[in-house]
């Protein structure tokens, strides 16, 4: 049996990536001998969720409740999943490659003595079980063998499409109220709060982000880019090189090690698009790159691009925006 952790959002609906994980589990089942796909949900299971998971081919939904899992704790929740797994006899435990998913699968793996593969993209064999997973922030992939049973892993976001099954599952809900050992509850969330919006928050929630990279050329050469930022009522995001060189403060950094932005439009100026930056901006709906190098990854991955010296192009754009009466 394949056991998939299904995470739910604040409304109690399954997250998209969890449905992707279920879909992956179905593919795995199909490649094997059709072992059933089960889900484990910690918290409430609404009728809608039950129906949706059934549509995704889930046979049994293991609902875990009780005081032990009321607040989040990695060890406690993993203990619950592990108890479900043992009760149901699953040989595969998986989750979406979210922060939670990775954390809980790591706990499960540590508790069972199994290996754990994070951010799996696909599998290429069952005996031995070989998976391909994302490493180096997505810039490379690793083919990895998972020898032990259970096989514990997470599925990288958007590695597979979330699609309902051709044949629905039973979607039967089985209740679990496992006992959680006190030592597994020591590290437990004691409170959850909404952080105040600060400057870096503005960057992650901005509708337009103007990016600035190495091509700007120096701490004293941001004038044009800042003017564009202001004209578009946008936030400024910079590449790691810029903060490393001390040209701009760290909280403006976009990337794997900075903010991950999701604007309607991202305008990277003089940013070549190193993997680590791309990891932070790839969710932008549109990218308009301004770069002197037509071959730069940022250009080839962009929606739109202008080739040339940003110090010539950006002032021209600023002037054109003003000419058309925008920007206050």
């Amino acid at each position: 049996m394949i056991l998939t952790l299904v995470e739910t959002d604040l409304e109690g609906a399954a997250t998209e990536v969890s449905l992707e994980a279920v879909s992956f589990g179905r593919d795995l089942s199909a490649a094997g001998n059709g072992v059933p796909v089960d889900a484990v949900v910690i918290g409430d299971v609404s009728d809608d969720l039950r129906a949706e998971l059934a549509a995704y081919g889930v046979r049994t939904i293991h609902r875990v409740g009780g005081e032990g899992v009321a607040a989040y704790s990695g060890a406690g929740w993993a203990s619950a999943i592990q108890q479900v797994r043992e009760a149901a006899g699953s040989v595969v435990v998986m989750a979406a490659g979210t922060d939670r998913g990775n954390e809980l699968m790591a706990h499960v793996a540590a508790r069972t003595g199994a290996s754990m593969a994070a951010n799996v993209l696909s599998f290429s064999g069952l005996a031995p079980f070989v998976v391909t997973r994302q490493v180096v922030g997505g810039a490379a992939m690793e083919e990895m063998k998972l020898h032990e049973r259970p096989a514990v892993f997470t599925i990288a976001g958007h590695a597979v499409e979330a699609k309902p099954a051709d044949v629905s599952g039973a979607g039967e809900v089985v209740e679990h109220s496992p006992t959680i050992a006190p030592e597994d509850l020591v590290a437990r969330v004691v409170s959850t709060s909404q952080p105040e919006v600060d400057e870096s928050g503005a960057l992650t929630s901005a509708r337009v982000v103007v990016g600035a990279g190495r091509g700007v050329g120096g701490a004293d050469k941001f004038e044009d880019v800042l003017e564009l930022t202001s004209l578009l009522d946008a936030a400024l995001g910079v590449s790691r090189v810029v903060t490393s060189a001390g040209w701009r403060p760290h909280h403006e950094q976009v990337g794997q090690t900075g903010s991950r932005i999701t604007p309607e439009l991202y305008i990277p100026c003089g940013i070549s698009g190193a993997i680590q930056h791309w990891a932070g901006c790839s969710s932008a709906k549109n990218i308009l790159a301004i770069n002197s190098d037509a071959e730069a990854p940022m250009v080839t991955r962009a929606t739109y691009a202008v080739i040339g010296d940003l110090h010539e192009i950006v002032p021209a754009i600023n002037a054109e925006i003003r000419k058309r009466g925008y920007g206050g």
Binding site: Y72, G74, A75, D99, R100, E103, A106, A110, S115, M116, A118, N119, V135, V136, G138, A139, A140, M141, E142, E143, H147, T154, V186, A187, R188, V190, T192, P195, R207, L232, A234, H250, T257, S259, E264, L265, A274, I275, N286, A294, A296, V299, T300, T303, Y304, A305, V306, I307, G308, D309, E312, A316, I317, E320, I321, R324, G325, Y326, G327, G328
Partner: protein, 263 residues
């Protein structure tokens, strides 16, 4: 609450570039051109360790890695750590998460036997190269300590039964706070503190610190890695609006189309 003895675990990883180069045997990333670093998560962990140790505690750093990994230890020493341990492991890519957590635990235990305690063990949330997301958690199980995953700020408090670390991190539903008695393990996600760059005096001081060298406890069982492969290039769908400043009107047309301009 004064200070804690903190041990931060770092890993020498290739710095990120546009194009990853693999080693000839495809077992690791070739970082000769890009250079090596520790991940940003770990840079923040080092910064937190230095802050939490200020006022009487010890900020120690350790790594498991090839001889060259001493560079990352020196870098941590240069920004305020005062002791370093190097588990010298040639071909360190052969060490998987299980092996590494076991080796770290061995160092912690050995230090305890020598009378050195590490109240708080800090690690990065995930390694920038192998991306395993599990070493800190496995370490906690090895040592029987509680673990908080993915925190970005840490403070120390006096609890009813001794010192407590208050760890805050981003959860799916908002900012989550943990209060965990020491000793504990916390994995750090960057964003809560700004790592500092070394100063010249810091760098000179780091040079003089004697680094404790240890051998690995046992042969590694390995990461289960068959090989690394590079993803195929993604086809470009970019629409080139033009070259040079003459393209400005075309750019503003796009801005209008996307509706991001305001009068």
């Amino acid at each position: 609450m004064a200070a804690a003895n903190v041990l931060v675990c770092v890993k020498r990883v290739p710095d990120s570039t546009e194009e990853v180069v693999l080693s000839e045997d495809a077992q690791s990333v070739d970082g000769r051109a890009s250079g090596f670093t520790m991940s940003a998560h770990e840079e923040c962990a080092v910064e937190l360790a230095v802050q939490l140790a200020a006022g009487g505690g010890e900020a120690a750093v350790m790594t498991l890695g090839d001889a060259d990994a001493v560079e990352q230890l020196r870098n941590a020493l240069a920004v305020g750590c005062t002791a370093a341990t190097h588990v010298v492991a040639p071909e360190s890519y052969r060490f998987g998460p299980v092996d590494v957590s076991r080796e770290i635990a061995a160092v912690v235990r050995a230090h305890e036997e020598e009378g050195r305690t590490h109240d708080l063990l800090l690690l990065g949330n995930d390694a920038a190269d192998s991306g395993d997301f599990q070493v800190g958690i496995r370490l906690a199980y090895e040592l029987g300590r509680p673990v908080v995953n993915g925190a970005n700020t840490l403070t120390l408090e006096d609890g009813d039964d001794g010192p407590v670390v208050v760890a805050v991190g981003e959860g799916p539903d908002g900012q989550e706070t943990y209060r965990v008695p020491l000793p504990a393990v916390v994995t750090i996600r960057e964003g809560g503190v700004e790592p500092r760059y070394p100063s010249v005096p810091g760098r000179l001081k780091a040079k003089k610190v004697a680094i404790e060298e240890r051998q690995p406890l046992s042969e590694p069982t390995g990461p289960g890695r068959v090989r690394l492969v590079l993803p195929p290039p993604t086809p470009s769908a970019v629409q080139i609006l033009g070259e040079g400043p003459e393209a400005a009107p075309a750019v503003v047309d796009v801005l209008e189309k996307l509706g991001v301009l305001t009068k």
